[in-house]
Symmetry: C2
Subunit: 218 residues, 2 copies
């Protein structure tokens, strides 16, 4: 079943929203995520249901069918492989690649993406630490937790972000909180939710916001 650029963006958004809240996805949440009016979302949901990509009943929110899930994972695979290409081969910074990958992910060729995968030496994660599905759509999810869920004394490696905005990524870069660094929780401040971590043999304070969006593999 052929999918348009737009349909692909809806499927991807539904996939991500489902994994954020682990529940059926509401019209409004899609509307917000795609910056599109709810009325337009409803129209598209009907279309995607007709094509068999989602389970949709009026007013009940949606879930992806198997074929919808597969499509979404294909697009995510393409997005993340292009991001690796842009950072590793073309020397883009990790905060510059999202929008470009957003366009490249819609180029439609299985051969192309598999050859790109090979050229990049079958990377397991994209520049933000997110796992890359393999050519069969298998996505191995690593055990990660946001910093604010760790206990004092816990240690681990920075291995992903929950928030992908340019601003956040640039902040992390500037303060040395980059993928692969080892950190340890020194203290958690109840008052404002901030966390004191040890990184590079020094103590560093991290705000609640950052702690919630920085993922650690233990």
């Amino acid at each position: 079943m052929i999918t348009s650029y737009t349909e692909e963006n809806y499927l991807k958004a539904i996939y991500h929203l489902h994994h954020e809240k682990n529940a059926s996805v509401s019209t409004n949440s899609i509307s917000e995520s795609l910056q599109t009016r709810a009325a337009s979302v409803t129209d598209m949901l009907k279309k995607l249901a007709d094509k068999g990509f989602i389970n949709y009943a009026k007013y009940q929110g949606v879930t992806l069918t198997d074929s919808g899930k597969q499509k979404a994972i294909e697009i995510i695979r393409k997005h993340r492989l292009w991001e690796v290409f842009l950072v590793e081969k073309l020397n883009f910074k990790w905060d510059e690649v999202h929008d470009l990958a957003e366009e490249l992910e819609h180029i439609n060729s299985e051969i192309l993406i598999n050859k790109l995968d090979e050229f990049l030496d079958f990377p397991k994660n994209d520049p933000h630490g997110d796992p890359i599905p393999d050519k069969n759509g298998v996505l191995k999810s690593q055990e990660v937790l946001p910093i604010h869920k760790l206990q004092i004394g816990d240690a681990g490696i920075i291995s992903g972000v929950k928030e992908h905005s340019k601003g956040f990524l640039q902040y992390l870069e500037k303060t040395g909180l980059t993928l692969g660094e080892t950190i340890k929780i020194v203290d958690k401040i109840d008052f404002d939710g901030s966390v004191i971590i040890n990184i590079h043999q020094k103590e560093q304070n991290i705000s609640r916001e950052v702690a919630k969006n920085l993922l650690i593999a233990i």
Copy 2:
């Protein structure tokens, strides 16, 4: 001025048609080249004229304005750089890359394409021998002639094709007529327009059709 995917295809088509016949481009020739009805072409020509990309007067055919020419050359630059990438880095064959480049050429980022150019080490020609415009839109056209315009005794290097169809490129590949090979004209047969050339120290007969579409630098 922003251009849609479709507008870009029209501009590119007009550019190529103009360089084929060296005259103003007719509605019907665009219609045929894009596989779109003439009525639709007329609509689009009005739009492109409004945007300042073409000179258009009813029934008179069109020419590109400076800004239209610039847009067209940008797209051609992107198309040809992506073709080099696909062949040199991803190991596609020269007859497999056209359709993919046709999609990739519409990805809109000057930084991306300049970084790609650098990554590929600033190639001068694409895998079919066509020259790649530089980042300022300067396109240096090499002195090339189709084989059927050469005289007996002339020699040169195969450096491009006029016809880009898969079938033709595969035929050339199979018979060893690839870019960079040196050839010499041994004889020209008036009867059927075929040409006998010397290549790899052997004589080889080439049909009129092939002779017309294989370009030699002398």
